[in-house]
C-alpha cells in the first residue's frame, strides 16, 4: 500500500492505483476526458497533467502509478498553463454549436473550459468540418465535429462488449470516429457510449431534442427490466410538460454500483420505460358488466371487492401475483392471504418467448423481483390456479399485472378460464387483453411513481424511489391491498411502504436485519444469500 502526498494531503492507496484515483481519494479532482475507471488507459486527451516532485515536466496522471513517497502537485502554475493550452487545443476545431447540442448543460468541454480554459481563442483559420448528425445505430447519433477523439466509445466496444464496431479513421486533425464498413452500432449495450462520451459527439436518438438537460429532475432507482436489478437514475421532466408531449420520464441513466452493474446498463433496460407514459395506462378503477365498462371510485371498488372476498370460500379464490411487484406489495398480499387462509396463490406466468441472457448483465428472467416473491411465500403452481378456474372451481380470481393472454399458456384455455370465473379482478398499470377481460380493473402506480424494494436474482435487496406522481388515480399495490385489508376488518397500521418492509423483515427470516437505512443507495445482500 504505497503512501503518497497529493497537494499536501497524505493518502494511502492500493498498489497499482493511478494518480487520478489516488487524487480522488485525497479529495482532489484531476480533470480528464479519455480516462474512465471501467476502461483501459489510453492517454489520449493529455488533460490530466500533474506535476511530480523532482520530475522535469508535467506528466499524465492516468497512466502514472502511485508509488511510495510520491509528491503530486495538481495546482502549480505550470500545470494550470498546460491545462489551459490543452483545452485550447481540444477546442480548435470544435463547432461551438452548444445551442443545438443535446449535451449542453452536462458537457465536459463546457465545464472544463469554465474551470480550466477561459483563454481568448487565437484560431483564425476556417475550422475543419466533419459529418454531423450521422446515425450509428438504432440508439446513437454521431456528430464527428464535436468529438475530441478520447476513444472511450472505441474502447467500450472493444473491451466491454467485444463487438468492435467503432474505430478512429483518417489522420491528424481529419481524424474522426466512425463505424467499420458494413457495421452498425447495434450491440445490446450501445446506449452506454452516450453516457461515457464526455462531449456532444455521441447523443441518444431517443432523448434527442426531447428536453434540455437542465430541466430534468433525478431520482435513484432500480431497473425493472430483468432479474439483475441494475442501479439507475430516472431523469424526469416535470418543469416543461409541453416539451415531450406528456412524456414525463425523459431517460434512464446507469448509476454506479460496484456489486451489480458498475457503470453500465443494457439497451433493453435503458429504453424499456415507455409503458410509464403510454396511452394504455390505467387511470381510474373501472367495472365491466357484460359489455359496458363504467368508471368507479376507489371506495366503491374496495367495498365491492371486500364483499366478494367475504362471500367466497377461501378455496374458491385464486391469486396470481406478479414478480414485477415490490417486496412491500408482496408482503401486504401475504398478509391478506394469511388472514383469509387462501392457498391458491402463485406468481410465475411463463412468457410466450423465452428471455435472452448473456454473461454480462442481461438475465433471462425479465422480472425484477422473482426471488422476493419466492421468499415472501407466494410461489405456488400458477398452472394449477388456471386449471381450477377452467374447472369452474374458482369464484374470484385476482391477477396482478400479468397479461395471461400473451403468455405461453394457450390463449383459448386462458379465455375459457377467465370466462368461467364469476369475478375477475385485474390490478396493474397498463391495459391489455387480460385487463379487458376482467370485471374489475384497478390502476396501479408504475415503479417510477412510488417507493419500494426489489430482490434481484442473487439476493440483493435494492430500493427504488419515486420520481413522478402516479398518473390519474393509480395507487401502489401495497396501498390497494392495504385498503382491502382495512375493508375486511384486518387491523393494518402500515401507511407507507417502509412500514410494510419492517413487517416483512419481522415476519420473513430471509430478510432478517434489513431496513431502509441499511439498504442505502447500493442495496444489501440478504443474510443467507451467496453471491453468484
Amino acid at each position: 500500500m504505497p503512501k503518497l502526498t497529493v497537494d499536501g494531503k497524505e493518502v494511502e492507496v492500493p498498489g497499482g492505483t493511478n494518480l487520478i484515483e489516488a487524487a480522488r481519494k485525497a479529495g482532489v479532482e484531476v480533470p480528464h476526458y479519455c480516462y474512465h475507471p471501467g476502461l483501459s488507459i489510453a492517454g489520449q486527451c493529455r488533460l490530466c497533467m500533474v506535476d511530480l516532485e523532482k520530475a522535469p515536466r508535467p506528466t499524465i496522471a492516468c497512466n502514472t502509478t502511485a508509488t511510495e513517497g510520491m509528491v503530486v502537485l495538481t495546482e502549480t502554475d505550470r500545470v494550470r498553463e498546460t491545462r489551459k493550452s490543452i483545452m485550447e487545443f481540444h477546442l480548435i476545431n470544435h463547432p461551438l454549436d452548444c445551442p443545438v447540442c443535446d449535451q449542453a448543460g452536462e458537457c465536459w468541454l463546457q465545464i472544463y473550459y469554465m474551470k480550466h480554459g477561459l483563454y481568448d481563442p487565437r484560431m483564425t483559420d476556417e475550422k475543419v468540418h466533419k459529418p454531423k448528425a450521422v446515425p450509428l445505430g438504432p440508439h446513437v447519433m454521431l456528430d464527428a465535429e464535436r468529438c475530441i477523439l478520447c476513444s472511450r466509445c472505441v474502447r467500450f466496444c472493444d473491451e466491454i462488449t467485444a463487438t468492435g464496431e467503432l474505430g478512429i479513421f483518417e489522420r491528424g486533425d481529419h481524424s474522426e470516429i466512425g463505424l467499420f464498413p458494413g457495421r452498425a452500432l447495434d450491440n445490446p449495450y450501445s446506449g452506454n457510449v452516450v453516457d461515457i462520451c464526455p462531449v456532444g459527439a455521441l447523443t441518444d436518438r431517443d432523448f434527442r431534442f426531447q428536453v434540455r438537460v437542465w430541466y430534468l429532475d433525478s431520482a435513484k432507482s432500480v431497473c425493472p427490466g430483468c432479474a439483475r436489478g441494475c442501479n439507475i437514475d430516472v431523469h424526469v421532466n416535470r418543469r416543461r410538460p409541453h416539451h415531450a408531449e406528456g412524456r414525463r420520464v425523459a431517460r434512464l441513466k446507469p448509476r454506479f454500483n460496484e456489486a451489480v452493474n458498475r457503470w453500465w446498463l443494457c439497451d433493453a433496460g435503458r429504453y424499456g420505460f415507455t409503458f410509464v407514459d403510454d396511452q394504455d395506462r390505467l387511470l381510474v378503477p373501472t367495472r365491466r358488466e357484460g359489455e359496458t365498462v363504467s368508471d368507479a371510485t376507489w371506495d366503491d371498488a374496495i367495498v365491492a371487492l371486500a364483499a366478494t372476498f367475504r362471500r367466497s370460500p377461501p378455496d374458491e379464490i385464486g391469486i396470481i401475483a406478479s414478480p414485477k411487484m415490490a417486496n412491500e406489495d408482496l408482503f401486504a398480499l401475504r398478509r391478506l392471504l394469511d388472514n383469509l387462509a387462501l392457498r391458491r396463490v402463485a406468481f410465475r406466468v411463463p412468457p410466450r418467448v423465452a428471455g435472452d441472457q448473456d454473461n454480462f448483465l442481461i438475465r433471462a428472467d425479465k422480472n425484477p423481483n422473482s426471488l422476493g416473491a419466492e421468499l415472501v411465500g407466494l410461489g405456488g403452481d400458477s398452472r394449477a390456479v388456471l386449471e381450477a378456474a377452467r374447472a369452474r372451481r374458482l369464484r374470484c380470481l385476482v391477477i396482478f399485472g400479468h397479461d395471461l393472454l400473451a403468455s405461453e399458456w394457450p390463449e383459448a384455455e386462458v379465455r375459457e378460464a377467465l370466462g368461467a370465473v364469476e369475478t375477475v379482478i385485474f390490478v396493474g398499470s397498463n391495459a391489455h387483453a387480460t385487463s379487458a377481460a376482467a370485471h374489475w380493473v384497478l390502476p396501479a402506480a408504475a415503479w417510477v411513481e412510488r417507493d419500494g424494494t426489489y430482490t434481484n436474482f442473487e439476493g440483493r435487496v435494492q430500493r427504488f424511489r419515486p420520481a413522478v406522481e402516479p398518473l390519474g388515480q393509480a395507487l401502489a399495490e401495497w396501498e390497494i391491498v392495504g385498503r382491502l385489508l382495512a375493508a375486511l376488518g384486518v387491523d393494518s397500521t402500515a401507511t407507507r411502504p417502509e412500514h410494510w418492509f419492517r413487517q416483512l423483515v419481522a415476519a420473513v427470516p430471509a430478510f432478517a436485519g434489513l431496513s431502509y437505512q441499511a439498504l442505502g443507495d447500493g442495496g444489501r445482500l440478504l443474510p443467507g444469500a451467496v453471491r453468484a
Partner: protein, 179 residues
C-alpha cells in the same frame, strides 16, 4: 385625518380650487401664446390614437421571429429564451431539421403574451438573433386568455418597424377573433 379634513365640504372645495387654478393658469398661457406674448404654450392632450408620441428606438414592443432567406425561422430551438424567461411564457417544442448543419428547428414556438412582462431577456439570450422585439406593435388585445397566445406562424409573419418607429405589419388577429 385631522380635524379640518373631517369636514367633507372643506376638502371638496379645496380640490375644486386646485383644478380650477390649473384650468385658468393653462388658459392664460394658451391666450398668451396665441397673442404672441409667450413662446411656450399651455399643456395639451395628445389625441390618441390619431396622434401619437414618438417611440424610443429602444422600445420593446411585440416580439417577432426573424426569418432566414428562404422564409424558415432562424430559431434553432436552443431553449435559451425559454430558460431565461422570468414569466415562463415561451413554449418551444424542437424537432429535427433535414439539413444537419441547422440540425434543430422549433416545431412549436408559442409566446403567451398574457404572461409576458416585456423584459426583453429573450432577445438578449438568443444566440442566433432569431427573436426581436422591434415590431413597434403595442396595441394587441384579445377577448380571451387563449387569444393572447401567439404561435410560431403569427410571430414569423411580423416585420420590423419602419424608420419612423411605426409598425409595418398589421397586428395579428388572435385565434378567438375574426378581423
Amino acid at each position: 385625518m385631522n380635524f379640518r379634513q373631517r369636514f367633507y365640504l372643506v376638502e371638496v372645495l379645496s380640490g375644486l380650487w386646485l383644478t380650477a387654478a390649473h384650468f385658468f393658469r393653462n388658459m392664460g398661457r394658451h391666450v398668451a401664446h396665441a397673442v404672441g406674448a409667450s413662446r411656450t404654450g399651455g399643456a395639451v392632450t395628445i389625441q390618441y390614437p390619431e396622434e401619437r408620441r414618438p417611440y424610443s428606438p429602444r422600445l420593446r414592443s411585440l416580439h417577432r421571429l426573424v426569418r432566414r432567406e428562404d422564409g424558415s425561422p432562424r430559431c434553432v430551438a436552443c431553449m435559451m429564451c425559454e430558460t431565461v424567461c422570468p414569466a415562463h411564457c415561451i413554449y418551444i417544442v424542437a424537432e429535427e431539421h433535414p439539413n444537419p448543419d441547422i440540425e434543430k428547428v422549433p416545431r412549436r414556438f408559442d409566446i403567451d403574451l398574457g404572461k409576458c412582462v416585456f423584459c426583453g431577456y429573450c432577445v438578449e439570450a438568443c444566440p442566433e438573433d432569431a427573436i426581436r422585439m422591434d415590431t413597434g406593435i403595442l396595441e394587441f388585445s384579445s377577448y380571451s386568455r387563449g387569444g393572447m397566445i401567439y404561435t410560431k406562424e403569427m410571430l414569423l409573419s411580423l416585420e420590423a418597424a419602419g424608420a419612423d418607429g411605426r409598425p409595418r405589419s398589421p397586428i395579428p388577429v388572435p385565434a378567438d377573433r375574426t378581423a
